[in-house]
C-alpha cells in the first residue's frame, strides 16, 4: 500500500470538508502525486475553464513514498490549471509539509470552488476545518506563518501558504511551505489565492504504517541510501556546493543565458557562483552561505541557507532581513543574476528572500525583470512607468526595487507580475519575451545545449528544466555524456528524461536522486512500499502515460503544436560566445523526430494508437 487511500475534499464555496476513498484503480495506473492528481483534474474539470475562476480545482498531492524513510521521500505537488500558461500546472516542493499531510492520513487534498472571503484550512489528523483568514490577508507568507503558529501553538505544525504577490494577481505566485521551500512554478499560488485560500496548516500524528512489505522496504531504502552516499554527486558535490555549482560550469560551456538571452556568457558569473557564496566577505568575515539543509527524509541535503551582508544597501536599515534563510539555488541565482546582468550576490540573495517571503517564482520573476530591462533599454518603457527607476541591465538597485514592488503588487510591480509574455505584449515587443507557452525559461541556453531546447519547447507546463533535465547527460555526463551541440538523437533523450521524471515525481521522490539512482534503484523501493508489481518497465510506462495525459489535457485547453515553439531569438540569433558561437537552436530538426518517438501525429496530437496503448482517459 503506502497510499493512505484517503482524499480530503474541501469545497470552498460551501465551506465543507469531506473524506472520500482514493481511486485505487487510478493509483495503479498513475502511482500518486503528479500523475494521480492530474488524473483527478482530468476527470473533474473542464480544461477550457478559467484558471482563476471557481471551476478550476487545486490539488495538493503526495506520492506513495512521501512520508516514508525512502531518501527524499518528502515531496508533494500542487496541481491545477495554470493562469500563466493556460496549460496543466504541477509544481513540486520539498520541505516538510508533504510528509506532514501524509502523517495526518491524507494522500491528497482537493480544493474546489471559491470562498466568499479569505479562509485557511487546518488539518489535525482526521479533523479538517476552514477558518476565517481576513486577518492574514494582505500579509506576507512569513508574517502569516508566524501568526498562524502563534494561534495553533504546536511547533511541529507545517504550513503551506500564499503571499501578497498571489493575492495581487501576480501570475507566477508560488505556494510556499516551511518558509522557504516552494511549489514555485506556473502560478499555482495565484490559483490558490483566487480561491480566497490563504494557507493550509497541517499537523499529523498518525504516522505511516501501511507499507506493503516492510522488510523489503527497509532493505531497498537502505540500499538506495548507500548508492546516494557513495555517489560523488549526491554524496559530496550537492551537499557541499548545492545546485549553484553549475553557475561556473554553464558559463564555461557558453550556455549561460545573459541579459534576457541576448548573450550566452556572463562576465560576472564567478561573483554569483557557489564558490563565491563560500568566500568570506569584507564586512564581517562570514560567507554568504551559512550551511546546507535537507528536506524531509533526504540524505543528499543540497539546500542552501544564507545571510545577506548587513552593510549591503538592500538591508542596512532592515534588521528583519539579517537572518539565515533559504539562499540561492542555481535557477534562481541565474534568473536574478546573469539574466538581469546583476553580479551582486547580496542583491540576488535579498531578491531571493523576497521571492520566498511573498511567494514568487524567482525564475519567472527574474526573467520578467530581464525582459523589462531590455524593454527599458530599447525605450519601450521609460522612467514614467518605473517611478523614476533606471531599469537597466546590471543594476542591483533596480533588481531589488523590482522585487519589492512585485512582491506587494505595487505600481510597475503589477506589470512585472504579469510575466514576461504579457509584459512584452503590453509594451509592443512580444519578441523580447523568453518564454514557451507563456512560462519563462530556466538557466540553460538552447543554442549551446540543444536537447534542453527541445525539452523546453515540449514541456507540458511551459519552459522548464525539471520536466526533462537533459543537462544531466549533455553537460554533466549522467548517465552518459552526449554532445550538447548535437541535435541528432536528442528526441529519444528528451522522451526518456520526461517519462522517468514523471514517474519519479509521482512516487513522491526528489528528481535529484536520479543523479545517482536509475529506475533499477527506484522501482524496488516503490515495489516494496506499494501493492502490486512495480518493475522499472512499469514505472517508465506510468511516466509515459502521465506525459501523454498531460499533453491531451493541454490539447483540450486549446494548446497546439504552435505552442511547442521557442522564441525566435533562439532559433535565429546565433550564440555570441563559447563553444556554441554561431549556433542557433535546431528545434525544427528535433521536433518532428520527437513527435515520432512519442507516437504522435505530425501535428503533435496523440495518435489513437498511443492513446489506446497507454489506456488514457476519455
Amino acid at each position: 500500500m503506502s497510499w493512505t487511500k484517503k482524499i480530503l475534499r474541501v469545497n470552498l464555496s460551501s465551506g465543507t470538508c469531506t473524506e472520500e476513498p482514493l481511486n485505487m484503480e487510478w493509483a495503479n495506473d498513475y502511482l500518486g502525486q503528479r500523475g494521480l492528481a492530474t488524473r483527478y483534474i482530468v476527470e473533474e474539470t473542464d480544461p477550457a475553464c478559467d484558471p482563476l475562476g471557481p471551476d478550476n480545482k487545486l490539488i495538493m498531492a503526495t506520492g506513495p513514498l512521501t512520508g516514508t524513510m525512502a531518501s527524499t521521500g518528502g515531496r508533494y505537488s500542487v496541481i491545477c490549471k495554470s493562469p500563466l500558461t493556460n496549460a496543466i500546472a504541477c509544481s513540486n516542493s520539498g520541505g516538510f509539509f508533504g510528509a506532514e499531510l501524509k502523517f495526518a492520513g491524507w494522500d491528497m487534498v482537493i480544493f474546489e470552488g471559491r470562498a466568499a472571503s479569505p479562509m485557511y484550512l487546518s488539518i489535525e489528523d482526521n479533523v479538517a476545518k476552514l477558518h476565517p483568514a481576513d486577518d492574514l490577508w494582505g500579509k506576507s507568507c512569513w508574517e502569516a506563518d508566524k501568526q498562524l503558529r502563534t494561534k495553533h501553538q504546536d511547533p511541529q505544525t507545517r504550513i503551506a501558504i500564499v503571499g501578497r504577490s498571489a493575492e495581487q494577481g501576480c501570475l507566477y505566485a508560488a505556494v510556499v511551505n516551511d518558509l522557504h521551500r516552494a511549489a514555485g512554478r506556473s502560478g499555482v499560488g495565484t490559483v490558490m489565492a483566487s480561491k480566497n485560500l490563504k494557507a493550509v496548516v497541517c499537523r499529523g500524528t498518525l504516522g505511516l504504517g501501511n507499507i506493503d512489505n516492510p522488510e523489503a522496504f527497509m532493505e531497498t531504502t537502505k540500499a538506495g541510501k548507500a548508492v546516494l552516499a557513495e555517489n560523488a554527486v549526491t554524496g559530496q558535490g550537492l551537499p557541499a556546493y548545492g545546485t549553484q555549482v553549475l553557475m561556473n560550469v554553464i558559463n564555461e560551456v557558453g550556455a549561460l543565458p545573459t541579459r534576457n538571452m541576448r548573450e550566452t556568457q556572463f562576465e560576472g558569473a564567478a561573483n554569483v557562483s557557489a564558490e563565491a557564496m563560500a568566500e568570506p566577505r569584507k564586512s564581517d568575515g562570514k560567507p554568504n552561505l551559512t550551511t546546507n539543509g535537507a528536506c524531509f527524509s533526504c540524505t543528499i541535503a543540497c539546500g542552501r541557507i544564507s545571510t545577506i551582508d548587513r552593510t549591503h544597501f538592500s538591508v542596512k536599515d532592515k534588521p528583519e532581513y539579517w537572518i539565515n534563510s533559504g539562499g540561492l539555488e542555481y535557477e534562481a541565482a541565474w534568473a536574478l543574476g546573469p539574466d538581469t546582468g546583476v553580479d551582486d550576490i547580496d542583491a540576488l540573495t535579498y531578491a531571493n528572500f523576497l521571492c520566498n517571503e511573498d511567494g514568487m517564482d524567482p525564475i519567472s520573476f527574474g526573467s520578467t525583470v530581464a525582459a523589462a530591462m531590455e524593454l527599458f533599454e530599447e525605450g519601450a518603457i521609460t522612467t514614467e512607468q518605473t517611478d523614476g527607476v533606471e531599469l537597466k541591465f546590471g543594476s542591483a538597485e533596480a533588481l531589488c526595487w523590482a522585487a519589492e514592488v512585485t512582491a506587494k503588487g505595487e505600481g510597475f510591480g503589477r506589470d512585472i507580475g504579469m510575466g514576461s509574455k504579457r509584459l512584452c505584449e503590453k509594451y509592443g515587443r512580444p519578441e523580447l519575451s523568453m518564454t514557451v507557452k507563456g512560462q519563462e525559461f530556466p538557466a540553460y541556453d538552447p543554442r549551446g545545449i540543444q536537447g534542453i531546447g527541445l525539452a523546453y519547447a515540449t514541456s507540458n507546463r511551459g519552459a522548464c528544466h525539471l520536466r526533462g533535465y537533459t543537462i544531466a547527460s549533455e553537460i554533466l555526463g549522467i548517465p552518459v555524456k552526449t554532445d550538447p551541440l548535437e541535435s541528432e538523437g536528442k528526441a529519444d533523450l528528451v522522451k526518456a528524461f520526461q517519462d522517468a521524471t514523471a514517474a519519479v515525481d509521482s512516487a513522491g521522490l526528489c528528481v535529484f536522486t536520479t543523479f545517482a539512482w536509475t529506475m533499477d534503484d527506484i522501482a524496488p523501493q516503490v515495489d516494496a512500499a506499494c501493492a502490486g508489481d512495480w518493475s522499472p518497465e512499469r514505472m517508465m510506462e506510468v511516466g509515459e502515460r502521465i506525459w501523454n495525459m498531460e499533453r491531451e489535457y493541454n490539447a483540450k485547453a486549446g494548446l497546439t503544436a504552435a505552442d511547442d515553439r521557442l522564441p525566435e531569438r533562439l532559433t535565429t540569433l546565433p550564440a555570441n560566445a563559447g563553444p556554441a558561437t554561431g549556433k542557433v537552436s535546431e528545434l525544427d530538426k528535433m521536433l518532428p523526430a520527437y513527435y515520432t518517438v512519442r507516437g504522435w501525429n505530425a501535428d503533435g496530437t496523440v495518435t489513437s494508437d498511443t492513446h489506446q496503448r497507454l489506456g488514457l482517459p476519455g
Binding site: 558535490g237 556546493y241 564555461e252 560551456v253 564567478a270 542555481y330 535557477e331 525539471l466
Partner: protein
C-alpha cells in the same frame, strides 16, 4: 606555453598559490597531455570528471593525448557535480 587553468568546487584548493578565485595561469610543455597536468596538480583522476578545453568536454580516452593544448587555451576541471 601558458594556459589558463581553472579548478572548481572541491578541487579549488589544489590550484597554485597565484590563483585568483578559481583561475590561474600556468606554464605547460607543448606536448603535455591533460593527465600530465591533472597529475602534476594532484587532482585525483577519478575526481577530474568534467574536463573542458575552451568549454568543450574532453572524454577520458583523449586525456592521454600529447599536445592537445594550444597557447592561451582554457582548461577547466570539476569533480562530479550536478544541480538544476
Amino acid at each position: 606555453m601558458k594556459i589558463t587553468f581553472k579548478l572548481y568546487a572541491t578541487l579549488g584548493d589544489l590550484l597554485p598559490s597565484n590563483a585568483v578565485r578559481n583561475v590561474s595561469t600556468i606554464e605547460v610543455p607543448e606536448d603535455a597531455s591533460l593527465h600530465n597536468i591533472i597529475d602534476k596538480y594532484h587532482v585525483p583522476r577519478e575526481l577530474a570528471h568534467l574536463v573542458l578545453i575552451n568549454g568543450v568536454f574532453v572524454c577520458d580516452a583523449d586525456r592521454d593525448q600529447a599536445g592537445i593544448l594550444k597557447e592561451n587555451d582554457v582548461l577547466a576541471i570539476w569533480p562530479p557535480v550536478a544541480g538544476g
